[in-house]
């Protein structure tokens, strides 16, 4: 038992170490999704592999996946085989966060038995040194992985630091759901060493460089991740030294025990019982033959939540089987978003760590879309995975309606563009073949959140994802695109005593490209709207189409390409995306008349429901 003051001091110090780790990564990473959108995570684990703290930034799909990935690292590389200066890496979707674009880097942190000086971050340990020559700079990394090594003595393994980041490219098809097999989706890096005793794994780096479209950016990110783990490690070692702590295990036990107890207390407040819920999503509709409508293959996500005392079990039996395209979800990612949904509802203020996971168990049938097996394609796994909080909230609404929100647009509407940038003086594309510079631009967009039990839903706000949008001016400066409209969709929030959040319309066209613009959408909720709750109305349906910029005579009707398949946007056409709105809660007639008047005045609604 550690006294409360000491625990508070230690615990905040631990959180400060992972925040420093995350800050370091955010400032030095290259991937635009990390840099502009905050798509990264950072955690610390004790030597047994228990996650004890996470950085305040990040996104649930990463954090909770990483909490569960560490056991795979330990299986592949048992602690006794690890040496100071080792750094491990993988993008195995099944072992980490579900698709190749997310790379996980884990660093064991050692303390030399005799070293008692804080380990400095040395000069010259730079990526720049190493990108040209693997022999310089980083070869010294073991200095601060372990302090001064003494022959014959075994250094203590004190912790692991891990980071995940979404890299700019991983080879294979451009980021999309188009693949039918995993092999099309890019480079698979099984768990292996990124550094061995401080020496970079040059063979791996050569393979990575040879496979990805933006080698400098991807390799730069690998180094940035390793460095950020070192930053966290150095800070942890200082902390242990300052307080003369031989190990973080007693602290980890305390943190885990308190968090676990708080989570159990929260579950105790949920009445025992079995709660079932299922949702239907668009899924991956197979395009029909010319002249025929699409063959609709909607997906059912079904869950049964069983609350027994202070434990909670979620089972996804009844869920659809794997899909033919890249929207399948690995079990790790299913667990990540399910536990996130439960934690938001039951115990938002309980720290997220091994302890808060323990009372919650998750299962899904093998071969279902929530527990797919290789070589199922997985690149767009977030489309399905990000629905899971809504599924578990639907079940929990039967038990604790005041703690869960109504359904919203759920998954991010990711947009991936590529093509040729022919502009002068602006843009950041790299030289490509055939004249213009090749460009690739990905950014995230979010529809409305569902209504909250006591408040309206948030308009155009990412949930459950934790990422950000990218300003139109940045998009246009980087890529030959024009965003012509970014406006809230009137009446897209589901009516209710508490209204759902609105989605928005985004209109995008090419400006300064030669040839067609390639566009990969990751859109759902174009067929099934976000339902309301307790008499609240459903949110507005999403829509996506191409239309003429200048109508011809007679005008051509809008084209509706597949909302999850890569398409070519012809010259003279623009992309229109109508993002879905969130569902309402409660009978709209129960809504405060003043709020209705305000909504009318501000044009969020056109007439009272």
């Amino acid at each position: 038992m550690i006294d409360p003051l000491t625990l508070e001091v230690f615990w905040s110090r631990l959180i400060a170490t992972v925040n420093e780790q995350a800050t370091s990564l955010m400032r030095t990473a290259f991937s635009p999704t990390v840099a502009e959108a905050g798509d990264l995570s950072a955690c610390v684990f004790d030597p047994r592999g228990y996650m004890i703290a996470q950085a305040v930034t990040g996104t649930p799909g990463h954090i909770n996946s990483m909490a569960r990935c560490i056991r795979h690292f330990l299986d592949a590389c048992p602690p006794e085989t690890l040496r100071p200066g080792d750094v491990l890496v993988t993008n195995d979707p099944w072992k980490t966060s579900g698709h190749f674009h997310d790379i996980t880097v884990v660093t064991p942190i050692f303390r030399a038995p005799r070293s008692n000086s804080p380990l400095p971050l040395g000069e010259g340990h730079g990526v720049g040194d190493t990108l040209q020559s693997g022999e310089t700079g980083w070869a010294k990394r073991s200095d601060y992985g372990a302090g001064e090594m003494v022959r014959g003595e075994v250094p203590d393994l004190v912790a692991f630091f891990g980071t995940i980041c979404h890299v700019a490219d991983i080879g294979g098809r451009p980021f999309s759901t188009d693949a039918r097999e995993l092999y099309e989706e890019g480079l698979f890096i099984p768990i292996t060493h990124l550094f061995r005793a401080g020496v970079p794994n040059e063979e791996l780096l050569r393979i990575v460089r040879a496979n990805v479209r933006e080698p400098d950016s991807v390799v730069g990110d690998l180094y940035a991740m390793a460095t950020s783990n070192d930053v966290g490690g150095a800070r942890l070692l200082e902390f242990l030294e300052e307080f003369e702590l031989p190990s973080i295990i007693p602290l980890a036990d305390e943190v885990i025990a308190r968090s676990e107890q708080a989570m159990r207390d929260a579950i105790l407040c949920v009445p025992d019982g079995t709660y079932r819920h299922s949702l239907t999503m668009d899924g991956y509709a197979e395009p029909g033959r010319p002249g025929e409508p699409d063959r609709e293959v909607p997906i059912t996500l079904a869950c049964t939540i069983t609350v027994t005392g202070d434990t909670l079990h979620v089972d996804f039996d009844g869920t659809s089987p794997v899909a033919p395209r890249g929207i399948n979800v690995v079990m790790n990612y299913t667990e990540a978003y399910s536990t996130y949904g439960i934690k938001c509802a039951l115990a938002p203020d309980v720290p997220n760590n091994e302890g808060s996971f323990r009372p919650v168990t998750i299962t899904a049938p093998v071969g279902s879309i929530l527990n797919c097996q290789p070589p199922a394609p997985v690149a767009g796994r977030h489309i399905v995975g990000q629905w899971l909080p809504a599924v578990v909230h639907g079940a929990l609404a039967q038990a604790i309606p005041d703690q869960v929100i109504a359904d919203g647009s759920s998954s991010l509407w990711i947009t991936q563009f590529s093509g040729s940038d022919n502009r002068q003086g602006v843009g950041t594309g790299v030289d490509g073949v055939g004249g213009g510079r090749r460009f690739s631009m990905v950014f995230f967009n979010s529809g409305g959140m569902g209504a909250r039990p006591t408040k309206d839903g948030l308009s155009s706000t990412a949930f459950p994802s934790g990422v950000r949008g990218v300003p139109a001016e940045i998009v246009e400066a980087r890529a030959p695109l024009l965003i012509m409209e970014r406006s809230l969709r009137t009446d897209s929030g589901g009516a209710g005593t508490h209204r759902g959040g609105l989605g928005h319309r985004l209109v995008i066209r090419a400006d300064g490209t030669t040839g067609d613009l390639r566009f990969s959408p990751f859109f759902d909720r174009t067929r099934v709207a976000a339902p309301g709750r307790d008499g609240g109305h459903a949110g507005g349906l999403g829509d996506y189409f191409l239309r003429e910029i200048v109508p011809s005579d007679p005008p051509l009707p809008p084209q509706r390409p597949h909302p999850k398949a890569t398409t070519s946007v012809p010259q003279g056409m623009e992309i229109v995306m109508d993002l879905p709105g969130g569902g309402g809660i409660g009978d709209p007639r129960g809504r405060d008349p003043e709020r209705i008047a305000a909504d009318l005045r501000d044009g969020y609604i056109t007439e009272p429901a």
Partner: protein
């Protein structure tokens, strides 16, 4: 050498010689009056406003300068006699209904104390929380937005982000212009500034008629004009502004490229809105202060403190009130920097702890860093991301909700948490006895013996120890099963931890080590907690300046007239049009020159700093790089050498990147986002305030060896030494180890001598801790294992380890 006024003057201006002292004490052979006489001559020459008598219409005898800071509770004032370096502090209650009245009465009061007259005052420099408060309380003008067709919701859609990952009930900041007051005009500019769709003047007239219908015109309403890529080509914004001004006279109008000419439409829009939202309020306030000053018969010129650490004229403040948003905290950091420069501590951690918040700022090279990332009106006060972003240059400091009034509570995990709720001034901490029942940091400090209940604010306010104990007992001790003293110790320690963690993070993000520099402590509670924070950080020296309790007012007096300009030109360095860059920089220089000469600065005294915000292609976080002389030389209009400019910028980026991240930048292309020019007048050369009274009394202070409970020798006045029990960490001398004493949390009572700061003498051996040093506005805490001496600058210098000789400062 020290008695040569010319060399002294040079030394004062040159950072390299910053170790030279201003005050006469260190130049043994000189009398006070002699030095100040010569010194004053030097100051006149470098006064940014020229010779006051000539330019500002007051007589040659006007030699007083006043700095005034209006805070939530108190209005602090510092009056400085430039001829003698003598200074007077004043503190009066803020008059929230009309702060201008408080300003006038504070000036009158302090002038009276100094037996000076209003005609002696030539400059009043003022900082205010008016802007921040107006934004938090949403008390500004009715405000509309005019933007590009298709984008009126961009300011509401914002970054589509939740700033708290788990809280489903979070609120997002409301835009300052509601949706029904957001309008669109037909026009479109591209990222490169070229026109995609020309501006349709008819669509402006439609907007104008809507605005008239909504009651805009006459003397009400404010309009922000923010068009897409307006930073790259301001023509359309100007045209919209002109048309609206003509059709809606009296309406305040702000154009985004003037307020914050930076890429990112959401941030530029929120900044422009905030500026125009508070404009009318600021105008009225400035008019009233000016009226109050002239009514008092003072010819003094009024200058306003900007967030970035410069000062501006009333006219500039009226146009860009948002630039004043953090003027108070900025003054604090400036004061610390100025003190550091003059005592040879060009790197230090400024630590300003007041009633509601604590602010930390890492200063290196004698200058506080400036950032443009700032948020106002946070939904959750200290939660990053929960406020409206404001892109104005501000001194880069971290502010956390840990002040003397911060309320302690026990959370559901049985952990002690602090703030961000503050008891404020009313009801105040429990010990104020004004109805507060929640335990605060001040309550804990009283129980632990750090504060004397009978000597708070010099005894003008009596503190109720019993009320403090009861609050701590009820809300902290009882829930945790601790004694009241253990609970108070825990509260005291937790707040120190929070401040140390925030300071450390602040330093780390800037590639610096907070433990390597002295901790410069001021603000009412700063000197009480500095030692605790220093222990956690591992700092070895703490500096508590003279007048620490009102320390930030000094910052007002050392700020130059200056203004920051910015233009976005987003380009890769290898494809950059360097003629365009040269043109941007030249334009900003011209604007700066005009603004400053209008403010009375001599043309020859205007200096410029040029900066670029750069990053590696793909990274989001930009690095601000000072453009070196070679680059500026290669960018002279008419003599542009693109290759030399590019190489120079690249080298400067590499150097800065390495300093920040401790590794070289990888070989990836560099892109530029923003280009900045800071135009400044000369830094006023002002003597640091020193105690007015101290003619040495009797013999110099004996080397004081103060053991626990032993009588002490302070200036030979053993009879006057007061001793009281004070709580100190166990294991004196080393860093805190809260864990090693079990539930006690590692502390013990120790009888500790208490002395008045005014009784301390300079130039003697250090006193070993523990000792408590009291003055009217603050209390300095020196733990066991540390020692303290009084520097000739009037600052208390507390060092860890054995008692040492006072710091020797030799030219």
């Amino acid at each position: 050498m020290p008695d040569c006024p010319e060399s002294l003057r040079k030394a004062l201006k040159s950072p390299k010689c910053a170790g030279v002292s201003l005050t006469y004490h260190r130049h043994g052979g000189l009398s006070r009056r002699q030095v100040h006489h010569r010194y004053t001559g030097g100051m006149r020459q470098s006064d940014p406003f020229g010779t006051p008598g000539n330019q500002w219409g007051h007589g040659p005898e006007a030699h007083w300068r006043a700095g005034i800071d209006i805070g939530g509770t108190f209005t602090d004032i510092l009056l400085l006699d430039e001829r003698t370096g003598a200074s007077w502090f004043g503190k009066t209650l803020t008059t929230p209904d009309d702060p201008a009245r408080g300003v006038a009465s504070a000036i009158a009061q302090v002038l009276q104390d100094a037996t000076a007259s209003t005609t002696d005052l030539h400059t009043v420099i003022h900082g205010t929380t008016l802007v921040t408060n107006a934004l938090i309380e949403r008390k500004g003008d009715r405000t509309a937005l005019v933007t590009t067709r298709g984008f009126r919701d961009a300011v509401e859609i914002a970054r589509e982000h939740r700033y708290d990952m788990y809280d489903l009930n979070l609120d997002l900041p409301r835009p300052l212009a509601p949706r029904h007051l957001r309008f669109e005009v037909d026009e479109r500019i591209r990222a490169d500034g070229s026109v995609h769709t020309p501006l349709d003047m008819g669509s402006i007239d439609v907007v104008a008629s809507h605005l008239r219908e909504a009651g805009f015109g006459g003397n009400s309403g404010a309009v922000a004009v923010c068009l897409l890529h307006g930073y790259a080509n301001p023509d359309h914004e100007r045209a919209v502004g002109d048309r609206l001004r003509t059709s809606l006279p009296g309406v305040r109008i702000a154009l985004s490229h003037e307020v914050a000419g930076e890429i990112r439409e959401y941030e530029r829009t929120t900044t422009t809105l905030a500026n125009v939202y508070v404009q009318r309020l600021m105008e009225g306030y400035l008019d009233r202060i000016r009226d109050a000053l002239s009514a008092s018969g003072s010819p003094a010129r009024l200058l306003l403190m900007l967030s970035a650490g410069g000062t501006a004229t009333v006219d500039t403040a009226r146009r860009f009130p948002i630039r004043l948003v953090e003027s108070g905290p900025a003054a604090g950091a400036l004061a610390a920097a100025a003190h550091g420069r003059e005592t040879g501590r060009t790197s230090l951690l400024s630590f300003d702890m007041g009633g509601t918040t604590a602010k930390a700022c890492l200063i290196s090279g004698g200058v506080p860093p400036v950032t443009t990332e700032f948020e106002v009106d946070r939904v959750y006060r200290f939660k990053a991301g929960s406020g409206l972003p404001v892109r104005v240059p501000s001194i880069d400091l971290i502010e956390i909700g840990a002040g003397g009034g911060s309320i302690a509570r026990v959370d559901r995990f049985g952990l002690i948490k602090l703030g961000p709720e503050s008891a404020g001034a009313d009801p105040g901490p429990a010990c104020y006895g004004r109805g507060g029942t929640h335990p605060t940091v001040t309550d804990a400090d009283i129980i632990l013996g750090y504060l004397d209940p009978a000597f708070f604010l010099g005894g003008t306010m009596h503190l109720d120890v019993q009320a403090a104990r009861e609050a701590i007992r009820l809300h902290v001790a009882a829930p945790l099963g601790l004694t009241i003293e253990d609970a108070a110790w825990a509260v005291h320690s937790v707040v120190n931890e929070a401040m140390a963690a925030a300071s450390r993070m602040h330093a780390v993000e800037r590639g610096k080590d907070a433990s390597a520099v002295p901790l410069f402590a001021f603000g009412g509670a700063g000197p009480v907690h500095a030692a605790g924070v220093a222990r956690i950080l591992g700092s070895r020296e703490i500096v508590v300046p003279y007048g620490a309790g009102v320390g930030s007012t000094i910052g007002f007096l050392v700020a130059p007239v200056s203004f920051d300009f910015v233009r976005s030109y987003y380009t890769r360095l290898d494809t950059c049009d360097w003629h365009a860059v040269a043109g941007l920089l030249a334009t900003m220089e011209t604007e700066g020159r005009n603004l400053l000469t209008d403010a009375g600065v001599n043309l020859n005294d205007v200096t410029f700093a040029h900066r670029a915000e750069l990053r590696l292609v793909g990274q989001a976080h930009q690095v601000t790089v000072d453009l070196p002389h070679e680059v500026l030389d290669a960018l002279r209009p008419g003599h542009v050498d693109g290759f030399r400019a590019r190489d120079g910028v690249q080298d400067a980026f590499d150097t800065t990147y390495r300093a920040l991240y401790r590794r070289s930048a990888p070989p990836v292309a560099i892109e530029a986002i923003n280009w900045r020019v800071v135009a400044s007048g000369p830094v006023p050369v002002v003597a640091l305030p020193t105690p007015v009274a101290p003619e040495p009394i009797g013999e110099p202070l004996q080397s004081g060896v103060i053991g626990a409970g032993e009588p002490t020798l302070l200036g030979g006045r053993t009879d006057q030494t007061v001793v009281r029990p004070v709580a100190w960490p166990d294991g004196s001398g080393s860093r805190a180890r809260p864990g090693n004493q079990g539930r006690r949390g590692g502390w013990a009572w120790m009888d500790t001598p208490v002395v008045k700061r005014a009784d301390l003498r300079t130039g003697v051996s250090a006193i070993a801790g523990p000792v408590i040093i009291e003055e009217r506005e603050s209390t300095t805490v020196v733990p066991p294992g540390w020692s303290v001496c009084l520097e000739t600058s009037g600052a208390l210098v507390i060092t860890s380890g054995e008692a040492t000789s006072p710091r020797n400062v030799t030219p």
